[in-house]
């Protein structure tokens, strides 16, 4: 049985994709600059906690993440991401730390876009940095750990090996 509405919808998606203009409002940053920004966002947040938290890198967050692909499977754009465990948080202080992160991000003028888990003591927060649209995240993990993360927008590839 023909499902032309389904097919037409896919066609619409593909046509719109082809027509969308390039993002006009930001100058493109390099991967190095993006990484610096990611690190800075994370470190400033950790430093704003009381007491300031230490950071432990999560290794698998280091490779650049393909975020746009050609038709035949070649990654064309990448986002730069880092995740760090927050270490040295006081004993029962997960929710407190999360609230401090939330307040810090708001004070910096970033947008909080979602939260979850505060009621169970397992908080998570997603945000977007202003003015440059990096994704910010704080997330609870099993074992009562928290990690902080930042992700750049989708960037063109760089010639240099990944940061």
């Amino acid at each position: 049985m023909p499902l032309t509405r389904f097919a037409r919808t896919i066609a619409l998606i593909m046509t719109v994709s082809a027509c969308m203009p390039e993002q006009p409002t930001q100058e493109t940053v390099t991967h190095v600059q993006a990484l610096e920004r990611v690190e800075r966002l994370i470190r400033q947040t950790a430093a704003a906690l009381t007491p300031p938290a230490e950071l432990e890198l999560i290794p698998y967050s280091t490779p650049p993440n393909p975020c746009a692909w050609s038709e035949d499977g070649i990654p064309e754009r990448f986002s730069i991401n880092r995740k760090y465990w927050l270490r040295g948080l006081p004993g029962e202080g997960i929710v407190t730390a999360a609230r401090q992160v939330h307040d810090h991000w708001e004070a910096q003028g970033h947008a909080i876009t979602s939260t979850g888990g505060f009621e169970t003591g397992h908080p998570s927060i997603t945000g977007t940095s202003n003015p440059d649209g990096f994704v910010l995240a704080l997330a609870w993990a099993e074992g009562d750990n928290l990690y902080l993360a930042a992700t750049s927008p989708c960037l063109p590839p760089q010639d240099a090996p990944h940061p």
């Binding site: 389904f6 499977g73 397992h122 989708c154």
Partner: protein, 585 residues
Amino acid sequence: MRAPSAGEAFRRVALLAAEHHTDLDTPTRLMVAHAWVGGGAPHFAAGLATHRGSLQSALALALASLAQAAARLGAPPPPPPSTSTQVPTAPATHGPFRGIDTGAMTALIAALEAAADRLGTAGHRLRAELAALGLPLSPAWTVLRAAEWTAAQCPDLRRRLARIRGSARWIPAGVAAHDLFGTYAVSRDALLARLATGDQAALAQFLALRDAAVPAQVASWWRRLPDGVRRRLVTLPGFGALNGLPAAVRDQANRHLLATEKARLTAELSRLYGPGALASITADLRHLAVPAALLAQDEAVRLLRNIAMIERALALGGVSGHPPAYLLSFDLTGTGRLAVSWGDPDTAAVTVTYVPGLNTRLSAFAGDIDRARVLWQQAQATAGSRTIASIAWLGYDPPQISGTLTPGASVIGDAPARRGATELAAFADGLAAARTGPGRHVVLGHSYGSLVTGQAALLRPGRLADELVFVGSPGVGVDHAKDLGLPADRVWVGEDRNDPVAKLGHFGRDPGSPTFGARPFPVGRNLLQNAHSSYWDVDSASLRNLGRIVNEQYQELENPPALSPLPQLLMPQFGQNENIGNASH
């Protein structure tokens, strides 16, 4: 006087019937409750059901016969008691990654032995009562045959159970069932014996089988093979596609095949175009660039590009904190077959299998492999010490739509999904059979892949997965979540409100609609052209929520707030990640 004797005989046999008509109920309930499906379990269950039914009928027949005799002699007895009972026919819902329950198996055998004893006694008594009145003896023979059959099963089952218990390893339920009920199995042993010799035709035949019990049989067979035979088999072309083999073995066999194919295609190119052209092509391929236009149409070049893509997609395996990448399935022919697991699905506490949608084909599958990778990262990051395996499964032929579509000219039905469902069900059987410990299985279906997933769930009620997640789904082929063989609260739907594919509901009811009965989880909202592919954006609330579901952290789902009602189509959202371009829809 005969009349009192007939009446008294009736009362005695009524008591006997009351005591014995349920003698085979306990073993039957145990078979149903544990739903052992491996090996010959269905045949055994069928034999048991036959004898149970005939036992109850025989008792009813004997009572009727006695009642008639008593009535003829003038002393009508009370009406015969009921001798039939119902046992549940549907198995208790349980997931695929469960180990054997030796307690239940022991209980089964003990119940059979007890029943055999009791039925033997009952049959002899019944024979005596019927013979004393000159009535037909066939009901008694039926009861005695049931006793004999029941008794005859026990020695073999006991021996097999002892062997299972003697094994130090954790054994998946399906494999153990195969071991326990092996006597009853439809014999594929001859085919496996030929396969063990490296018989390519036998492999092809085995690869064509889709019966649910086959992977368990493969797992059981592989365990008993000597090392030398195993070493030879991993070099047999296509061997890595066999569901039920350990992940490490599939990986080894498929990588061997990949290397062999690469060498063969390279040699062919060298022969056709000379070593100079080959060097230039190889350099282009290292950058995944399209080699010189003249050669771009060459089939060998196309296949070598696919190989290069696969190798590049696997390159992060074991690097920078990533787990090893297991190549579970690999086939270059046709639209291609590829299944990659980040992390070992045989040992992981949770395995999540991602089923992609339209336009997925081997050459563009790198994006889907990467989606599985970022889902692995996200789930592992919040999982604590539990291990995660995240699989990208391209094991079917998705419908392909070309970029220039004429409305009305394209037909997308559900036939590819039904074929794909058979493949996915067999793949899931293979995952279950290869396990070395208990675990959870989650299947994530995207777009048309969600229809494949729904149809596969129908093929394996309660056994495909412990949890189903649908994102961007145009329908999954049923109208209610509970039709999928799982509790409705284990069926999840994520729909970006700008994802038009998710609104279609063409294949059954839209799973995002409240009447479908699945649990919605928030995935945020993206630009129209991104919405269908944005569920995996790194560190997005959507990806994190997928990770939460994988980890059963339901209280920790994040809820992105409703955004502005302004039209989003032509207004880029300030600050959103750009995700232009699509690996698959």
